[in-house]
Symmetry: C2
Subunit: 132 residues, 2 copies
DNA sequence: TAAAACAGGATAAACTTAGTCCTAATTAAA
DNA sequence: TTTAATTAGGACTAAGTTTATCCTGTTTTA
């Protein structure tokens, strides 16, 4: 039921980048500010880059920057980038993964929960997470 | 983000018991009907018994039975019985588990999500899961 | 050309999941 | 009263996932 540390770190990281969307920020700075192990954070940022949430700059003065405005990035985007989906049961990702395929009365709940979670997490943008 | 197989099995199991709330049903029958490994199911039922969702009867003609009516048991009850809570992040269980204790702008989201999930899962009772 | 950054792959320890297996206790019925 | 059926509970384990680390390579600026 819980998200992983990796996802938690990813959200913190994007939240930090959202506070200075114009700057290019190094892994080291984010790591220190958000208490995220540096080499693990490097991996996470690699993933966020591949998923198009941040862009990276290599070399001296390199670092990371959001590709979009904070209000255009949702928590859902980050969770999906790291975990693939917000489904709570594998059958809500692909119903063939269920061994009770026919007539499982619980299945519709997992489908509904998935949609509901997507809607909820889409509502939270990183613009909301920086106004304090 | 996902529930465990154990929780999935527990829900299926309670759903099966809900279909015949007056009968006492053996592990073996549930195992076969719901495609749950028998010895694993035994452990799950042990837990459900401890948590007061089912009662057990030992010996010949023994088995399990719900302690309450299907409409009085929610999916939330079963998830909490098996997983402890529906919190998506450990900081939503105990805020001391957060290393950013002070001023984490994401924290309120996990608290809110937890409350919503509790409400949502409480709405689904096993009475809903048998009328089909 | 040197130093500063990220990219990507390999590796691994710790933890969790998803079970199994064995013995003991309990109960109904022969 | 014995036997067979059934759950209780503890120990154990294989496989998978999580949470990282480390090393080498590439890119870029000064």
């Amino acid at each position: 039921m819980q998200i992983t540390r990796e996802t938690d770190y990813a959200i913190r990281c994007v939240q930090y980048l959202s506070m200075s969307p114009d700057r290019i920020i190094m892994i080291d700075e984010i790591s220190k500010a958000k208490m995220i192990p540096k080499s693990f954070l490097a991996k996470i940022l690699q993933r966020l880059t591949k998923e198009g949430i941040v862009r990276s700059f290599r070399g001296v003065k390199g670092g990371f920057q959001l590709t979009k405005k904070p209000k255009e990035i949702s928590i859902l985007d980050v969770i999906v980038a790291i975990e693939g989906s917000v489904a709570m049961n594998k059958c809500a990702i692909d119903s063939r993964l269920c061994d009770l395929s026919n007539a499982c009365t619980v299945h519709p709940i997992w489908i509904e929960m998935r949609k509901w979670l997507e809607d909820k997490f889409r509502e939270y943008t990183f613009a909301d997470l920086i106004k304090r």
